[in-house]
Symmetry: C2
Subunit: 625 residues, 2 copies
């Protein structure tokens, strides 16, 4: 039962005023924050939350709610104020903003039930919103996705990646709004209030672009309606606003970014001005009638993280030869058959990562992102936030392109399951720009990240299944060359485990390898054995968490002598992981790893040139033994 829009406008106006007041009060109480960035968006948020969006204010996690992403995450106080206004929690909570015991943090995180993905690194929210909108389509949900950007944020290339992907997938269920207040942190934005500059860009990228006065509630309501009517493409509402709107001495002035009003006079003046902006409304309309719950969608899926039951054992046999990247593709297909939540994303290298195997069978759950790794990660975050288990795949080196997204996915603790192929110098001739040599460091740095690095087809397949159902973000590193299958199909590979491949009571040194170097270590074992030197060889397929107990036990047996060998730069990878596991033991860890910028060449030549081939392992063992 919709209320007439004309009678709602004054109600929404008063809500916007209350949102401004709450934003001022909470940031002043906190002594930090961005009240002026909230004030410019007050009418936008009021119109969205209390007229346009359909959601249950008592159950923000309901899958049928429309979704809202605050891409300009520094405006968090107005997001919190909106949920208080909607009745989710008491307004007094807002005064705990930014305190260590409150989840109302400086920028939104999914610690809050109404936040799908953490924002605060600009240009990411719109990428996540794409993923959320894609997930609504996947689950045949009618819910719509809204995302609010800042204008300065539009300088981020990721915004334009999202623009391309949004139009490619014709996401009519997505409505973005840019709060064009014309001021960045340090100065005017690139475009100031040149609304046509924005409109030209978004139109050129295939979106419905609508320019409105962002403080005109009726215009905003109309624009949202127009967005609903554009069912074949996403809409960008470009809202011309004033930063600090409603506070005369801050309005449109530079120098007010990220600055709360001072306690005392400054705050009091602002609040007095804002209080004076309330308008009388008819009593019946005082509380708006928004937030209608829509009809339930046809979602009927297992909650994320629940395993549908173990997959059949891999079909590879010991002695077969297959690249781990290809085994990854095969595993995705098996997993996709067993679980409809599995979705896969790629960035125009599906025929290299082998995600194409999944794409060929499950086209509706495969999302091509062309060469836009940031948008791919953002979409994976959005999909995962809504219940999908998302596998974005590309070359390991090109995941660095999305490092900031991986960081935010970790903060959000999402089920984003990354795969980086073509790891290390073992790719050969393409040269250093294509070699993932810092990916383990990047992934291990994130404390919530599981990091896996299988060496053969069987372990790859088993670990793809493990990572799918390990809660939170995970990373699998795959290799380009074919490698022999060394494990029987029934073998299990728990996360946090390792495999002792060679051992003996009289072993002098423990050699820890992973991925491609496992085979160098096995070669070294054979050479050393012929020379009468025994070593232990460990396949550390789980790099994070690493199997500390096995490593410690093994290293003790080899009198504290350990050699690590990895196709990765020396810092942040397997060697450091092993050293950390042994840190309390007073042991000697000798690292073999790539220590300089490599070059083109044949894989075997490069393994040898850069110090990680069997001969280097042999030499290192001989030095220690």
């Amino acid at each position: 039962m919709a209320v007439e829009v004309s009678s709602l406008i004054p109600v929404l106006h008063n809500i916007a005023t209350r949102l401004r007041i709450d934003s001022v009060r909470s940031t002043t109480a906190a002594g930090s924050g961005h009240p002026t960035s909230c004030c410019s968006a007050a009418e936008i948020v009021a119109a969205l939350f209390f007229h346009e969006m359909r959601f249950d204010p008592k159950h923000p996690e309901s899958p049928d709610n429309d979704r809202f992403v605050l891409s300009k995450g520094h405006a968090a106080p107005i997001l919190y104020a909106a949920w208080a206004e909607a009745g989710l929690f008491d307004r007094s909570e807002l005064l705990k903003l930014r305190q260590i015991d409150s989840d109302l943090e400086g920028h939104p995180t999914p610690r809050l039930p109404f936040v799908d993905v953490a924002t605060g690194s600009l240009g990411q929210g719109i990428c996540a919103a794409i993923g959320i909108a894609l997930d609504a389509r996947r689950t045949e949900s009618d819910c719509r996705t809204y995302v609010l950007l800042g204008d300065g944020e539009s300088a981020e290339g990721s915004v334009w990646e999202a623009a391309e992907i949004g139009q490619y997938y014709r996401l009519g269920n997505l409505c973005a709004i840019t709060d064009v207040n014309g001021l960045g942190q340090s100065r005017a934005t690139l475009w100031g209030h040149d609304m046509e500059a924005f409109a030209r860009r978004w139109s050129a990228f295939g979106w419905q672009a609508i320019v409105v006065d962002g403080h005109d509630l009726a215009a905003l309501v109309d624009a949202f309606a127009a967005a609903r009517r554009a069912t074949d493409r996403p809409t960008m509402i470009l809202a011309r606003t004033i930063k600090g709107k409603g506070i005369s001495f801050a309005e449109g002035r530079n120098g007010w970014h990220g600055r709360p009003l001072k306690k005392g006079d400054e705050e009091e003046r602002a609040l007095a001005e804002l209080e004076a902006q309330f308008v009388p409304v008819e009593r019946a309309a005082d509380r708006p009638a928004p937030t209608l719950i829509q009809a339930p969608s046809r979602r009927a899926q297992r909650p994320a993280g629940v395993r549908p039951g173990s997959l059949a054992a891999p079909s590879y046999r010991v002695g077969d030869s297959i690249a781990t990247r290809e085994a990854y593709g095969n595993a995705l297909v098996k997993l996709g058959e067993a679980d409809p939540r599995i979705v896969v994303l790629d960035a125009d290298v599906q025929n290299s990562t082998y995600s194409e195997k999944f794409a060929q069978v499950f086209a509706g759950r495969f999302y091509e992102h062309f060469i836009a790794e940031q948008a791919m990660l953002g979409a994976a975050m959005g999909l995962a936030s809504r219940g999908a288990i998302a596998f974005p795949s590309t070359f390991a080196c090109f995941l660095t392109r999305a490092a900031d997204f991986i960081r935010m996915a970790s903060i959000s603790n999402l089920n984003v399951k990354l795969c980086g192929s073509h790891a290390g110098v073992s790719i050969g001739e393409d040269g250093p720009s294509q070699m993932g040599l810092e990916d383990l460091a990047m992934m291990r740095a994130q404390p919530t990240m599981t990091v896996l690095y299988p060496c053969d087809g069987v372990s790859t397949e088993r670990l793809v299944e493990e990572m799918a159902y390990q809660p939170g973000p995970a990373y699998m590193r795959t290799s380009r060359p074919k490698t022999p299958v060394i494990y029987p199909a029934e073998e299990r590979f728990p996360i946090g485990g390792s495999k002792v491949l060679r051992q003996g009571p009289d072993a002098a040194v423990t050699v820890v390898a992973a991925g491609i170097t496992v085979f160098e270590a096995l070669k070294a074992y054979d050479q050393l054995e012929q020379a009468g030197v025994a070593v232990r060889v460990i396949d550390a397929y789980s790099v994070q968490p690493i199997d500390a107990s096995t490593l410690v036990a093994s290293a003790r047996q080899t009198r504290g002598r350990v050699v690590t060998v990895e196709d990765h730069y020396v810092n942040g990878g397997l060697g450091d992981a092993v050293a950390q596991a042994l840190a309390g033991e007073g042991m000697v860890v000798h690292r073999l790893a790539v220590r300089e910028i490599p070059r083109s060449g044949k894989p075997a030549e490069l393994l040898d040139r850069f110090g990680i081939s069997a001969s280097h392992i042999v030499a290192a063992v001989r030095q220690l033994a």
Copy 2:
């Protein structure tokens, strides 16, 4: 003495054919590579190198040459073929493509004198070209910059960041060309041959957009002339091409990306077809008369890396209080006064990083990049490749946005001097999205990267000078809170050094800290001293290279007991650096670091909550001592 264009066209046509033949022959010889991506660009490269560009083919490094960046780095074989055609080296060298003893690598690197920045990670070359064009303006050089992109590459957001920055700086000296062959690696590109889709976008972003048939040499020559006439904005020439052009069985077909022609029949058929495409030309015009050297520019600067003489000592006095980020800004100004090669870039946080201090004095050498960190890094790479010493600055966490650019800057070994402010949980209330907690891991992973982390104003200023003249990339981590000045102004801080702040013959444990944790370690020292426990405290301001000899000596004195403490996640930072320095010693390293996703709160609360405050150091020492 210009040759008539009309008589040059058949000459250029034959050159294009030779470039195709060389691309086919070299990739077939290598057994890998991207011949079809070269063939689409043959006329573009022929027209550029043998009509449009002004350069000395025997001296590719000459500062007066026009510059060419191959943003689509996988077309490297045609770049090499062009330089062979121009006479820089013998054509027979091309057959060593991708061999370990040849600098003709799979993708271009600055090992070659005609390559300014390594390419091969798509979307970066155009960002670097912006920097090269900015540098030409800085040095008042008339040289022009050309950059060749692929069409698939245009999906990278960094391309649109570059588009914004290029138009903002009105770079009329920059001409980009997109080789629109319609095919990516795995499938058709997002836009195929929809030339208007490209033109709309580039026009909307303020560039002169010119659509041509990319195999029509006369049209290309005209388009380059039109680009020269647009002196107030950059030009994007959108060249419609056919992938594999000239080889009938590969032309415009999917599945030919990154695939050389097979030795034997396949190569022979292709070469026969190409040979048949030569046209007769008048003898006089057989060898074109391009590559005229232009008049020398007004460049008169010291070569990169040469220090103009030591700066005066810092003006801070022991006991003063200043944030290292502010001391960084002050140091930039001093450095800028002493050396005209110093340039500074920021991404709309100049009032947080304090790069604004430099901007206020040297506006002409400060480059605002709004919120576009990738473009900022790319421009820094371009500027550095031409002789500038470039300091791109932003929050440490947002440098992750440009991780792939940092990777490529390392491969290129450029004088890019990064500064990341707001490191760690000590920023306080803004929360995890704004906290740089993986920056040390990211930077340390790059083997050519110097990593510095000063704790006070004096060491910051000294280290800014050190990093400026240390060849290659470097990173400085600065902190948000003010810290006391602890070093006298005359103190020196060589890269690779450290400072032992507290010591005693009976010390039980070595405590290694850096940046903000130095002060926690000093507090812990005082508390422990009162309790009768002596420790050594080391300021490891040079995290990479780290001062292994001092660490080893100190740790031996404390009987192999070491505690590290850092405002960074546990993996990849100071703890790992110290552990690696001590790896051969059989010592016990106890790491204090952030081990989970942090949250908003006051700085002191967070240091304590996340285990890196003085009380945690005291506890760790007591456990070991």
